[in-house]
């Protein structure tokens, strides 16, 4: 029983790291209406920036924590402006957008590998060196930070979407796409905001990855795909669904590791995906069945 409680704690922590990433991914999917796989590359870029700033330039943690989301937002907006909007102007289909996104991901991923090699790049921050035991259970500083940030990010994002004009425009575009344009929403501007916010959300998780076991190009594709799973599980178009989906999927994967050997993790996670697609493609918190339009 101890094992399953500990695995639950670990699962929540892992879910907390994933949740902002999944929210960002879902936001971009909902507003820009295609699968932005290069989201994984944004995570990598933010992480490597954190590494360079902290390890090579000696910046303190708080400065890195500010720089990373800002940089991530910039990268997201740049990708949109430099790659996706031009593609849009050429009138390509959503599939082509996905393929371009995949191409960008592969190119950036491997360019980073050339620059930094495939070795994990780690930064040891004093703040994160601690861990705590509560009886038989344990949790460390990075996991707690991830949970705190996820909570903050969730609340802030939720409030932004509900209370601000920009947020309302975003929601309008997510739920009704082209129709929103009819009532005066500037689609291109909405996309810019979505890319900025959606990408900024990965900044802190990227820093935490660097501080934990290091950042490396290896796992980026799988992170994005798991974010996609969380998005589908939560229901495309439901940001909070992606948020909840991230926790659900992570806890499930961790608990499964207590029953079968941990290396079956990917089968568990993507098995969940298949089950949802077959049985409830609208996701837990249901929305309309999704179809990308560009």
């Amino acid at each position: 029983m101890t094992l399953f409680v500990q695995l639950f704690i670990g699962g929540i922590a892992a879910g907390a790291l994933l949740a902002p990433i999944a929210m960002g991914f879902s936001l971009i999917l909902g507003v820009a209406k295609f699968w932005h796989l290069a989201h994984g590359a944004v995570i990598l870029l933010a992480g490597y920036l954190a590494y360079v700033l902290a390890q090579q330039l000696g910046w303190p943690l708080w400065a890195v924590a500010l720089a990373a989301p800002l940089f991530a937002a910039l990268v997201g907006v740049a990708l949109n402006a430099g790659l996706y909007e031009p593609l849009r102007r050429r009138g390509v289909s959503a599939i082509v957008m996905l393929i371009a996104s995949l191409g960008a991901f592969i190119a950036i991923n491997n360019a980073l590998a050339i620059a930094f090699s495939f070795d994990p790049r780690v930064v040891r921050f004093e703040l994160f060196a601690r861990s705590w035991r509560l009886g038989e259970y344990y949790i460390d500083a990075i996991e707690i930070t991830a949970i705190v940030f996820a909570a903050v990010a969730g609340i802030v994002t939720h409030q932004v979407l509900r209370r601000t004009r920009a947020g309302l425009s975003l929601r309008a575009v997510i739920s009704s796409g082209g129709m929103a344009q009819v009532v005066g929403v500037d689609l291109a501007a909405a996309r810019r905001v979505a890319f900025a916010l959606g990408s900024a959300l990965v900044g802190i998780p990227a820093v935490l990855i660097v501080a934990d076991n290091g950042i490396t190009p290896n796992a980026a594709l799988e992170v994005v795909l798991v974010a996609a799973v969380a998005t589908i599980v939560g229901g495309i178009g439901r940001l909070m669904g992606a948020y909840a989906g991230a926790f659900l999927v992570s806890v499930l994967q961790f608990e499964a590791a207590g029953v079968v050997s941990p290396q079956w993790g990917p089968t568990v996670v993507f098995g969940v995906l298949i089950v949802f697609i077959l049985v409830r493609p609208t996701g837990l918190f249901g929305g309309p069945l999704w179809k990308s339009q560009v």
Binding site: R90, S93, V96, L102, N110, P266, L278
Partner: protein, 294 residues
């Protein structure tokens, strides 16, 4: 086994796979990133039977084809009721599950070590032993695949498939008929991919999970995009071109450790370039007004 011959064998087999993927993506508009899995299933099925059960290679072919076709049914199921978005992500998921199972089901697949010592194939008395022999066998596989796919594309089946691709709403209105078409497309594509896998296994002499990963699936996808979705010529051209990339890099004497990621960067940039400049690929499908790029 000469250097050129090795390249030709691989090119022919990968071209065959690109052609089958083309049936799915080009003619059927069914976007699947799980093709490496069918390839691998054919390879593994054939290998396990020849090595552990001592079957002659020819006898394993129906089973290799069958296993691959059966699993592709699974993917077909995923595609049936939902839009292509779910198919894309679902096929990512199935591919990853597939590799994970090949890696972890040690009893059947040999786990990470795979199956080695695969004997040379024999086709009704013809002993396939040397380089030129394999070139012929691979070429024959490509020819058979191209003939089957080509005839299908021209037949009423092909026309029906294209109709479904072009207008999903109308397809939905046709209900069961549309389902049958899609399922058949997957079965045939999967079956032929499995056949190529069986040939490949007998050529390389051993199979392991790392030979059939999502990266390979993405490579097949890139071949179609570059070559032109919808045409056989395009699939073959794409395969040859993309296989030439690492060779060109090698010939350019890039610093050794840059060749691997450098090659990937080139693939990524190629995908982007084609998306921006020529989304319909080098040899586009002119027989229909709606191609992937439009």
């Amino acid at each position: 086994m000469g250097y050129i011959e090795n390249l030709i064998v691989l090119a022919a087999l990968f071209a065959a796979l690109a052609v089958t993927l083309n049936l799915l993506m080009g003619t059927g508009g069914l976007f699947s990133v799980a093709h490496a899995l069918f390839f691998g299933l054919g390879a593994y099925s054939s290998s396990i039977l020849t090595v552990t059960a001592g079957w002659p290679w020819v006898a394993t072919l129906p089973l290799a084809v069958g296993v691959a076709a059966l699993v592709s049914l699974l993917i077909a199921l995923v595609s049936l009721r939902v839009s292509e978005d779910y198919l894309i992500i679902g096929s990512f998921g199935l591919q990853i599950i597939g590799t994970n199972v090949l890696l972890n089901w040690r009893g059947l697949t040999g786990g990470p070590v795979g199956v080695s010592g695969i004997p040379l194939p024999q086709l009704f008395g013809w002993h396939i032993v040397s380089g030129p022999d394999f070139v012929l066998l691979a070429g024959a596989t490509l020819a058979v695949t191209a003939l089957v796919v080509g005839s299908l594309q021209l037949s009423p089946f092909g026309r029906g498939l294209r109709a479904i691709r072009d207008d999903e709403t109308a397809a939905r209105a046709c209900g069961k008929a549309a389902v049958a078409f899609k399922v058949q497309a997957f079965l045939i594509a999967g079956a032929l991919a499995g056949l190529a896998g069986a040939v490949y296994a007998s050529y390389i002499g051993f199979v392991s999970p790392e030979q059939f990963t999502i990266e390979l699936s993405i490579l097949f996808l890139a071949m179609i995009i570059v070559g032109g979705v919808g045409t056989i010529r395009g699939a073959i051209a794409g395969a040859v071109l993309l296989l030439a990339v690492p060779e060109i890099l090698r010939a350019l004497s890039l610093p050794r450790d840059l060749i691997g990621p450098g090659q990937q960067v080139l693939y990524g940039l190629t995908l982007i370039a084609f998306a921006l400049l020529r989304p319909q690929g080098l040899f586009p499908d002119r027989s229909s007004s709606v191609a992937v790029g439009e």
